[in-house]
Symmetry: C2
Subunit: 296 residues, 2 copies
């Protein structure tokens, strides 16, 4: 199989896992489980659960213990998008060509669906304790990483600064902070949790975190580049949105050429470190290259 | 010490624990830690952490393992209030005589502060794994209860139906559902987690859940009664708000007298079951009586 086929196979497997962990559509509160499903099953790259499982397998992980965490990280990513789209935040009516959750279900249910997805992410991850109770200590470590990287010192922290500084000129240091936290933190969490649940050493977990940090940064800078160089048809979302929103990006701060160089530098460093690790995972290599050099 | 003094002593101890677990005020994202502190340290009955520790001690629990969970449940309760007050939800500008979080920090930060508190609750609870790693299995069980009771089959589920049915005539069955989930679930979680972390048996955990369910229901019906019979000065919040919002309550469905009888019935059943349990906790008895017969 070539990369595209391998990738597609994984997407299908992940969608199956997400469906398995989705709550049943029943009870007086059914509207909220519908809204959760609507937002969670809206497609997307499924990057975080994919990286999590690749990392798990890289470190020799086997079995289904990783699955609740794969679903959980995608739920956290999704809730952040649902809240990000709200009128009081980015006020977006469309995402991936579909109406956003609050447009379909109302603003109140948009807020509650985000809350429900975040809470259900932890509920889902906690189901791992029942799956393999003898690994409770390991599961506890994975939960610690999940909660930490999703929170105020991770994704939420980045989102807060991004929202607060929107429309202001910001420094390179602050932009790094936003990218590292808003985009980087969940990507780091994904590979770290995969490693921890596979029984990787502390040193290995640190190393894979470092790799993911670089990939996350390169991924985000590539996003800035595409917003300037791509077309709405290619991206499936409006281009030049950063300019419209007067956003400081890597491209506005450093220019297109330097941005491209930085993507290249970060990616080759990440891939070099990955090659130095004991196991090999060809798909993971290809995935990382594709992520940062993608055209959409 | 009389009950009031005992109660006050506990409030002070809980506020100290909350302060200990609050995130530091630093970094680019400082505005969010300020908003979290503003909402979490706004006073209140501290009912949930108080019940949690009383239950922990009832079952012979000792040490500090309960503290991160006490902080966590209050954070979850607080986030639900912060989101509940948002313009798209109840649109309340004041709570406990102070401006609500979104009024002070803006609507975007109100949403993010709620998200941050919910996430930080799990982060805080997960710190228990580092405190007593050998109790990971037990901590996992407590986390399962916390996530379950806070989610779509618990508090969020109740909130969803409450919001969705607001302004509609609803049945007694649906009202029971809302009270049981929106108010009852976190009260149940509090005493269950206390019991689990103290090493109580499954049977004991079930029994204390049942007691808490009745107390939660009585507590909520008493709230309905006070909304009709009390004054704004006594309650510290507007009275007759249910009538204004055309809310179906226990009182509108069954009348004041039947509501009072129901509070009495539920409370005496709960206290009877509690008395039948192996340990005694006089304060807990007094607390439960006070809660359901309070005048504010």
């Amino acid at each position: 199989m070539n990369f595209k086929e391998e990738y597609q196979k994984r997407i299908e497997s992940i969608e199956g896992i997400l469906e398995k962990f989705l709550p049943e559509q029943k009870g007086y509160q059914k509207v909220i489980t519908e809204a959760m499903e609507y937002s969670l099953m809206a497609g997307g790259k499924r990057l975080r659960p994919m990286l999590m499982r690749e990392s798990f397998e890289l470190f020799g992980g086997k079995g289904k213990l990783i699955e609740p965490f794969m679903a959980a990280i995608e739920m956290i990513h999704t809730y952040s998008l649902v809240h990000d789209d709200l009128p009081a935040m980015d006020n977006d009516d469309y995402r991936r060509g579909r109406k956003t959750t609050h447009v379909v279900y109302g603003e109140d249910m948009g807020i509650l669906a985000g809350d429900a997805l975040l809470n259900y992410a932890f509920e889902t991850a906690c189901s791992a304790f029942e799956l393999e109770p003898e690994k409770s200590l390991m599961i506890g470590r994975a939960l610690n990483i999940l909660a930490g990287k999703a929170g105020i010192y991770g994704m939420i922290g980045g989102q807060v600064v991004d929202v607060k500084e929107s429309g202001h000129k910001i420094t390179g240091d602050m932009l790094d902070f936003i990218y590292r936290l808003k985009t980087g933190a969940l990507i780091e969490a994904s590979v770290m949790i995969g490693a921890v649940l596979a029984g990787a050493s502390d040193e290995e977990v640190l190393k894979i975190e470092e790799i993911a940090g670089k990939v996350g940064m390169a991924f985000q800078i590539q996003d800035d580049i595409l917003d300037v160089t791509s077309t709405t048809e290619m991206l499936g979302k409006p281009v030049h949105s950063d300019e419209k929103n007067e956003k400081t990006t890597y491209v506005t701060l450093r220019g297109i050429e330097d941005s491209r160089k930085e993507v290249k530098r970060l990616t080759s460093e990440a891939l070099d470190t990955l090659k130095g690790m004991k196991n090999e995972n060809t798909f993971l290599n290809e995935l990382l290259e594709w992520l940062v050099y993608r055209e959409k």
